[in-house]
């Protein structure tokens, strides 16, 4: 394979990873399921693109502006919908994602369905690499902090978390806003890689693709998200010579991994858990327990009803 081709895929992995990291925090760690992340991406992408292409801002501030805009909208959405439970929150995000796209399609200032073009080509391997490294480190730091543990506690058992004094609404909100900012920055990177964006690029399918990556890599594992992104972005490219059969195989692969290994590739473990050999068994057991408790919680709710 030629390096130029690989470089292209790696850049794609880069901006996808930004979105996936954000989604990983929301879905993998806070246990909230979103079908609307394409909407946050769209907001970030359009904001950043308008910044550089229309207002002549430099790339970096425009990117941050895109992330900030997505974060603000995320806060707004969260304040209205975070009280909803399980499936219903996920459905509200689905409605949100579609609504964002529909508004963009009807908004002439940003070109309607014809989109924004003439965006400078600023996203390269270096910029996505920096964004991803910073993004990953920041996320790891957050998860290992007290706040991160509170967020995980919500996923494990929201009621118990609330009873031990955690303001669950506030922490869910934090997770959603950070997640939206990541998606917004990912969108900004995408816009400056494509040099052209249109609402069509942010369909619901995109949101589901990213969610599939998070689950595929393993919920509650940053390493899993990274590996999942790499595999699921490279896989369709590897299958490129199969023409129209490749999505058939992609669909099968998704079902297969869910049925064979429903905890995803990493199953809640981090790479460091595996390499820290003496502690390895203990870490693995803890991870297994974490997942087990999750599943029991699911079963428990079943029994309560």
């Amino acid at each position: 394979m030629s390096w130029y081709y690989i470089e292209g895929i790696l850049i794609q992995c880069g901006y996808v990873l930004m979105v996936v990291l954000g989604l990983s925090l929301l879905t993998g760690f806070a246990g909230l399921f979103s079908f609307g992340h394409a909407g946050f991406m769209a907001i970030g992408a359009y904001m950043a693109a308008i910044g550089t292409a229309k207002w002549g801002l430099p790339f970096f501030p425009a990117l941050l502006m895109g992330g900030a805009a997505a974060g603000v909208v995320g806060a707004g959405l969260g304040s209205m919908t975070l009280n909803l439970k399980g499936d219903y929150f996920c459905i509200a995000t689905l409605g949100f994602g579609e609504a964002v796209r529909l508004i963009l399609e009807n908004w002439e200032y940003v070109g309607g369905a014809r989109g924004v073009s003439g965006i400078p080509w600023e996203t390269n391997l270096n910029s996505v690499l920096i964004a991803c490294v910073v993004g990953t480190l920041a996320l790891m730091a957050l998860i290992r902090s007290r706040h991160g543990r509170n967020i995980i506690a919500i996923r494990e058992d929201e009621l118990a978390a609330q009873m031990s004094g955690i303001n669950t609404f506030r922490y869910k909100m934090i997770a959603l806003i950070i997640s939206a900012v990541y998606a917004g920055i990912g969108g900004g990177l995408l816009a400056h890689y494509m040099t052209y964006i249109q609402p069509k690029m942010f369909q619901m399918v995109k949101s589901t693709e990213y969610t599939i990556i998070v689950i595929f890599g393993g919920m509650g594992s940053v390493t899993g998200s990274i590996i999942g992104t790499l595999i699921l972005t490279f896989l369709p490219e590897m299958l490129r010579s199969l023409d129209n059969w490749r999505l058939v195989i992609y669909g099968l692969a998704v079902i297969f991994i869910m049925v064979i290994r429903p905890r995803g590739l990493m199953g809640g473990m981090e790479l460091s858990d595996i390499f820290r050999l003496p502690a390895r068994r203990r870490a693995a057991r803890m991870a297994a327990e974490r997942i087990k408790s999750m599943e029991d919680a699911g079963a428990g709710k079943e029994a309560q009803r």
Binding site: T27, F33, M80, T81, N83, L84, K85, G86, D87, Y88, I91, A92, L94, G95, F96, E98, A99, L102, I103, N106, E158, M204, T208, T211, I212, I215, F216, M219, N244, W245, L247, V248, Y250, G251, L252, A253, V254, I255, M258, V259, P262, M294, E295, D296, G298, A299, K301, E302, A303, Q304, R305
Partner: protein
């Protein structure tokens, strides 16, 4: 209004499938669109390639789609259920199945749009000042009969009792001697049959193509609108959504029709998170 009713009836046939599965398994079956699409293709090929009469093709497509839904449940969902996986995994698998079905059809049958041979004359049926197209009448009739039959099955038969019991609690009904596997099997079969009918009627009124399943997003919205897991809710939600869509694009703005549909969706969730006819929110945790 009639257009809205007929659109709403198609949504209803699809939404009922979602709701049935949701009421028992507690997850949104996104592979439903694929089942609808396959149903539409079975009907199409039964009528063109095999030259079967309409009613036979209709039965065949219901049976075919029902079997496909059951097959999905056996191959994909049963292994997940056996290990008590959280609902996220079901949704992801359902999406994988939907990607698979759609692209399998594109790769084998091809992406071309196909048109059913004409069964009903296009001559509209006149009732005073109203003029109704025959296919619309047919859709409304099939939806009404199908849905009433479904309600009777669920309310009056022993199987229906099992389904209702399982929707309260799978574990408890298992203890009470309900064969949960058979119940779930039947739920998928019923949902699949109705999906097949919906697919064929939709194909007859409009056209058949591999991404036909995309419209199920709408029927999903309708199911939520009425309250997930509630059958009457799904039906009322669907008809309402169909009518609202037609009214919005007729009197307000066709550009913003879907936007309004989604805004209503979010609005309903905020005001009454369980939909119009939903169960109380405690058991949806």
């Amino acid at each position: 209004m009639i257009n809205g009713l007929s659109l709403g009836s198609v949504y209803a046939l699809m939404a009922v499938g979602y709701s049935l599965v949701y009421s028992i398994m507690n997850f949104s079956n996104f592979a439903h669109g694929g089942v609808i699409m396959v149903g539409a293709y079975i009907g199409y090929f039964a009528m063109t390639a095999a030259n079967l009469p309409f009613w036979l093709a209709f039965v065949l497509c219901g049976v075919g789609a029902g079997l496909l839904a059951v097959l999905l449940e056996l191959l994909v969902y049963t292994p997940l259920r056996n290990r008590n996986a959280p609902f996220l995994y079901y949704i992801i698998s359902a999406m994988g199945a939907s990607i698979f079905l759609e692209n399998f059809v594109i790769a084998t049958i091809g992406p071309t749009y196909r048109t059913y041979p004409q069964v009903f004359s296009t001559e509209p049926f006149r009732l005073g000042a109203l003029s109704l197209s025959r296919i619309d009448l047919m859709i409304i009739a099939v939806a009404a009969v199908g849905l009433v039959a479904l309600v009777i099955i669920i309310d009056k038969t022993k199987i229906g009792l099992g389904i209702r019991a399982s929707s309260f609690s799978i574990k408890a009904s298992q203890l009470m001697g309900v064969n949960v596997n058979v119940t779930i099997f039947i739920v998928f079969l019923l949902g699949g049959i109705l999906a097949g009918f919906a697919g064929m009627l939709f194909g007859m009124k409009y056209t058949v193509y591999p991404t036909i399943g995309a419209i199920t997003t709408k029927s999903f919205v309708a199911a939520v609108f009425g309250g997930l897991g509630s059958l009457p809710g799904a039906i009322i939600g669907s008809v309402l959504l169909g009518v609202i869509e037609v009214l919005v694009s007729g009197y307000l703005s066709s550009n913003f029709r879907d936007l309004i549909a989604f805004v209503i969706l979010i609005g309903i969730l905020i005001v009454k998170p369980t939909g119009l006819m939903g169960k109380t929110s405690e058991d949806k945790a």
